[in-house]
């Protein structure tokens, strides 16, 4: 599947250069966002806890309609989130969109190339500042540290839409893709002592969304994913050859009224490490997360957001007693959970110029990095906060 990407690139570029473009066929869009952020008591943003400008997101995309059935779409992004993920430029998506089937009630699209995942409410727009509800997304569901693994990869995505007079709108999604894992991404997951290679072997995601009728303000979704990573140890490595398996089940809802918007997601994730610590070692646990949020639109320009989230790293050790005991007291129990309350505000100076502000009150450190070997020296507080503001412009 990884060889597909260059092939698609060449195909798309050659088509792109030979077809004379017309404005309704070719469209450009982009965004630029810069913010300030601080998480004083943890390494979430940076190691010193100072106010940081590491909150930059820039994107530029194009859509080109090649013919009635084929479209090419690509987006490049630059993102900087400090310690949250690997800073730098990325090809976000680069794909051919084949409108394979179409009638009055059914439409099928097949996307091939560098695709994004569309499984959760904000999977495909986690780096698109004006499309997400807050600067920092709920970390149980949208864990920044695994951003590059979750956002998409090289592969295929199939979407089928069914519009029924009696039963409403359905969206069926299935995708399979693999991503390259950078050294920084590996370090975020495994820490500084991992010298080997982490390889994304398998990733299959599926979801279904349902809007009960044409004019219903409600939408419901279910999603599932399974992903596998192989680890091959390097020289002087703290880890052994092993395997990481992630399996996740989710459900979500979304309500959009004139003034109020409500949404929420719930998930359970299996986290399985085979042989990674030493040959024969096994970690197999289930984490659980849930959040609910409400937005009130005072006017077209001003809205406020409130959100409550709970996340447990291990459903069988919600208070972290076992974690603390099994580490001989080295890992405090608050690394077993991370619960967050969020208040935010959003103001549109223009229809495409927005300022967002927010504060998060957090209890626990289960979603701080590194994941496999936590850092209780830097992350020595159970209660901590993050505040952020970001100015964003798009066209």
């Amino acid at each position: 599947m990884k060889k597909l990407f260059p092939t698609i690139s060449i195909l798309a570029l050659s088509l792109f250069s030979t077809v004379v473009s017309a404005s309704e066929k070719l469209q450009w869009h982009g965004f630029i966002a810069q913010g300030l952020i601080q998480a004083k008591d943890t390494n979430y943003i940076n190691d010193d806890g100072d106010v940081s400008t590491e909150l930059t997101e820039v994107g530029l995309n194009l859509s080109y309609q090649i013919n009635q059935q084929l479209r090419f779409a690509a987006q490049a992004v630059y993102i900087n989130g400090g310690n949250r993920y690997n800073e730098g430029g990325r090809v976000d998506y680069f794909m051919l969109d084949w409108h394979a089937y179409s009638d009055e009630n059914d439409n099928t699209h097949i996307y091939v190339g560098r695709i994004k995942n569309y499984t959760y409410l904000y999977s495909s727009v986690r780096d698109v500042p004006m499309a997400r509800p807050s600067i920092i997304l709920p970390q149980g569901m949208y864990f920044d540290a695994t951003r590059d693994l979750s956002v998409g990869g090289d592969g295929v995505y199939i979407n089928h839409k069914h519009d029924s007079e009696n039963y409403g709108h359905f969206d069926f999604n299935i995708s399979s893709s693999q991503s390259e894992i950078s050294d920084k991404q590996k370090q975020i997951m495994l820490g500084d002592f991992a010298t080997g290679d982490l390889d994304h072997k398998l990733d299959v995601q599926s979801s279904v969304y349902w809007q009960p009728s044409d004019f219903s303000p409600w939408r419901f979704g279910l999603g599932a994913l399974t992903a596998e990573f192989d680890y091959e140890k390097g020289t002087g490595d703290a880890f052994s050859d092993g395997k990481l398996v992630l399996q996740r089940y989710t459900a979500n809802f979304n309500y959009e009224g004139e003034y109020w918007e409500f949404s929420g997601e719930v998930m359970q994730e299996r986290f399985r490490l085979e042989n990674l610590y030493f040959d024969g070692s096994l970690v197999d646990r289930f984490s659980q997360g849930i959040y609910g949020q409400a937005r009130y639109n005072f006017t077209d320009k001003l809205s406020v957001l409130g959100r409550a989230e709970r996340f447990y790293g291990n459903k069988d050790d919600r208070d972290g007693k076992t974690l603390e005991a099994s580490s001989g007291g080295l890992i405090p129990r608050y690394f077993a959970y991370q619960h967050t309350l969020t208040l935010g505000m959003s103001y549109d100076f223009q229809p495409n110029l927005r300022l967002q502000l927010e504060n998060h009150w957090i209890k626990g450190a289960a979603r701080l990095t590194p994941i496999i070997l936590p850092d209780p020296v830097t992350n020595n507080k159970e209660d901590w906060q993050v505040w952020a503001l970001q100015l964003m412009y798009w066209f």
């Binding site: 404005s23 309704e24 469209q27 869009h29 965004f31 994107g59 995309n61 859509s63 309609q65 009635q68 479209r71 779409a73 690509a74 987006q75 976000d92 998506y93 794909m95 969109d97 409108h99 179409s102 009055e104 439409n107 699209h109 996307y111 994004k116 569309y118 495909s124 727009v125 698109v128 004006m130 499309a131 979407n159 839409k161 519009d163 007079e165 709108h169 044409d214 004019f215 959009e256 004139e258 639109n297 077209d300 229809p351 798009w394």
Partner: protein, 127 residues
Amino acid sequence: MYVGRVDAAVIISHSSIETKQLSTSQLRRIYTMRQTTWANGQAIVVYTLPSSHPVHQEFTKKELKIFPYQLDKMWIKLTFSGLAKPPIKVNTMEELIDAVKSTPGAIGYVNQNASLDGLNVIAMEAK
């Protein structure tokens, strides 16, 4: 059914389109990019005015029966996740009329005072 649609927007398309009537559901499917081809198989090119434009507000609430912010959210998601060709935004009604006149497969909306010469007018099905 609406009585006295004085404020309502008029749905227009390129003159080559034969569709004379759409239901609210069909129009909404077109504007939310769920339906991307006309009955004759031709690709639909969707034109819109800026979301703050009074005719857009009117069109969105009365014809699509959706709040303008919902449409904006949907378009932003489609545009920046690569899923669909986003609608083409023009700044004025005059620009929109010119664009719909000259683009095969185009659809748009204007207020009732606009001159409709050289355009196909699409009536909304009464419910």
